[in-house]
Symmetry: C2
Subunit: 147 residues, 2 copies
DNA sequence: TAATAACCTAGTAAAATACTCGGTTATTAT
DNA sequence: ATAATAACCGAGTATTTTACTAGGTTATTA
């Protein structure tokens, strides 16, 4: 979707070109874009000169909708939110994973495709320069903390 | 680990009892606890009356250390942080997944085993009542938003 | 000495993920 | 008209991860 955002300025983008650029198989891309189209995130046009374009502005598409479109869920509870994880009851850690799912959705829905496009390095506009994704500068990376 | 937290007040907890309580196979638990022991999160004692106890206070063990111990990583980038996801370079979405990994670690490391134990319903102390995990009340659940 | 329970290694089953294969249909350019 | 293009579609397969099984050995306690 970032590739499409960047390249659609020159008209519809073929899956073949995305396949070549990103090293993802054409057939697999077709399956992904079939879901993206059904979610009204992209529109396809057939025949020569055809391809895909985004169905909305890059700043009106957030990452959560993209992931939900191709993955179907961002709920990481074992029971998929049904609260029957342990013998029909909530398991001991249901609340933890439920809350994490909410945080996950909050994070991904807050980031727009346009942000990823602008910080991708391939700048096709004369607009403002690249900005960072979020402003949380000094959160230690996992694995770097002292044990 | 929540089961162990709750039940260790009556002395070492056998994996057999956790297996029965949580519906997880004994052999699988042995593999998990082997890793937890090597990470100094639990200590085992053999023979009759033996079992496992936590190696630290319930409020000194966070969920990130537990997950890192058994899963090995909380880095969800394709390249495991090596930044060589696309032909030796950072892929278009590396920054997104890198930042999400940081958020993920931040969330899980901020939650202590003691918090999960206290809100598990099985309250073995006369201490303060159950509290919520985090105070972010009105973040809509994934799937409930208007499309 | 017998029972218990951790400790250990190797192999297997199930599920999710990524991908292949072989088409058809619609659109455009010649 | 016809050929090329590129989306569209369904079924099957390979790979990887996750969870689990099997069959032991070793240490500790009653």
């Amino acid at each position: 979707m970032v590739d499409l955002s960047v390249n659609q300025v020159r008209g519809p983008v073929t899956l073949k070109s995305i396949s070549d650029n990103q090293g993802i198989s054409l057939s697999y891309l077709e399956q992904l874009f079939s879901k993206l189209r059904k979610s009204s995130l992209v529109t396809g046009s057939r025949g020569p000169g055809g391809g895909y374009v985004l169905a909305k502005n890059v700043d009106e598409i957030n990452i959560a909708e993209i992931v939900l479109s191709v993955d179907e869920a961002l709920d990481i509870t074992e029971c998929e939110g049904k609260q029957d994880c342990k013998d029909g009851q909530r398991c001991l850690t249901h609340g933890l994973w439920d809350e994490l799912s909410i945080q996950l959705y909050g994070f991904l829905s807050g980031i727009k495709l346009g942000q990823l496009m602008r910080q991708s390095g391939i700048n096709n506009s004369g607009g403002p320069g690249n900005r960072q994704l979020v402003d949380s500068p000094s959160l230690g990376k996992p694995g770097n903390e002292v044990h």
